[in-house]
């Protein structure tokens, strides 16, 4: 066993989470990655009103209410999945294009924890990524200011 381990900063993992099986696997992978390290997991649910400009104010308000319901359910689902495995996590809810929200979250963490590591973790075919490596993963690979882990 080597004795000289480099000093490891904290590891912050930003997990894109929509409750789908790939997102569930992404969260599991994040737990495995954080094992033995200091740091935490940010479970991020992104609600995106793609056609907001085409909807009435009433319809938008209604969708936002349903996003709150979804958020509650997803938070409970993540808590259930993580119970007994990892308690260093927080649930966040963002609104806007998924890539933007994940990148922004990662940037905030990186800027507020200099010297530590931030990694974005996504499933390879979550709902937002219908095609096997969809637009989100590709766009993240291009824009992510931090390393990106794609979980099959």
């Amino acid at each position: 066993m080597p004795t000289d381990t480099p000093s490891a900063g904290n590891l912050y993992l930003v997990v894109g989470y929509d409750g789908s099986p790939p997102a569930t696997r992404a969260l599991d992978a994040a737990v495995a990655l954080l094992a033995g390290r200091t740091g935490s997991i940010e479970v991020v649910y992104v609600a995106h009103l793609t056609t907001a400009e085409m909807m009435s104010a009433g319809a938008i308000a209604e969708m936002e209410v349903s996003f709150e319901d979804i958020e509650r359910e997803l938070r409970a689902q993540a808590a259930e999945q993580l119970r007994g495995h990892e308690d260093r996590w927080e649930f966040r809810h963002g609104q806007g294009p998924i890539t933007e929200v994940l990148v922004k979250t990662a940037e905030e963490l990186r800027d507020s924890h200099p010297g530590d590591s931030v990694v974005i973790v996504v499933g390879s075919s979550s709902q937002a990524m219908h095609r096997i490596v969809g637009s989100v993963a590709v766009s993240l690979a291009r824009h992510a200011p931090v390393p990106l882990m794609i979980v099959p």
Binding site: D4, V133, V146, M149
Partner: protein
């Protein structure tokens, strides 16, 4: 590599001397492939040594530098079968700059059996 050192994890550095896919055969073999593969191995070993030296004495449990002659995506995916993670640059030798993600990276992601960590070129990674 620092991450592997922190975790005392074994690390394999894999470089693939890309084979030419033939019309009728799976792989076109050139007489100097063997030599080229050995050159790739030497280059990869030199780079690996440089990175290791930068770690100031800390080492992953083991570091293996391998060079093979074949198709990069296939070789990487196969190598990843027994791995916990594949680590790739987002754009390597194969990419047009207009491609969003290197074609090797995106194909590896599609076929990999384990998580794939994509690190952008020129990005400073501290762990």
């Amino acid at each position: 590599m620092k991450e592997a050192a922190i975790r005392h994890a074994p690390l394999t550095v894999l470089t693939v001397h890309e084979a030419i896919r033939g019309y009728y055969t799976k792989m076109v073999v050139y007489p100097d492939d063997q030599v080229r593969t050995e050159e790739a191995q030497k280059a990869a070993q030199a780079e690996t040594d440089e990175v290791l030296a930068g770690l100031n004495g800390a080492h992953p449990e083991s570091v293996t530098v391998k060079a093979v002659h074949g198709f990069p995506v296939e070789e990487l995916v196969n190598a990843g079968r027994d791995a916990d993670m594949i680590v790739l640059g987002s754009r390597g030798a194969g990419g047009f700059s207009r491609l969003l993600m290197g074609s090797t990276a995106s194909q590896v992601v599609q076929h990999a059996h384990c998580p794939v960590l994509i690190v952008r070129h020129a990005e400073h990674v501290t762990a």
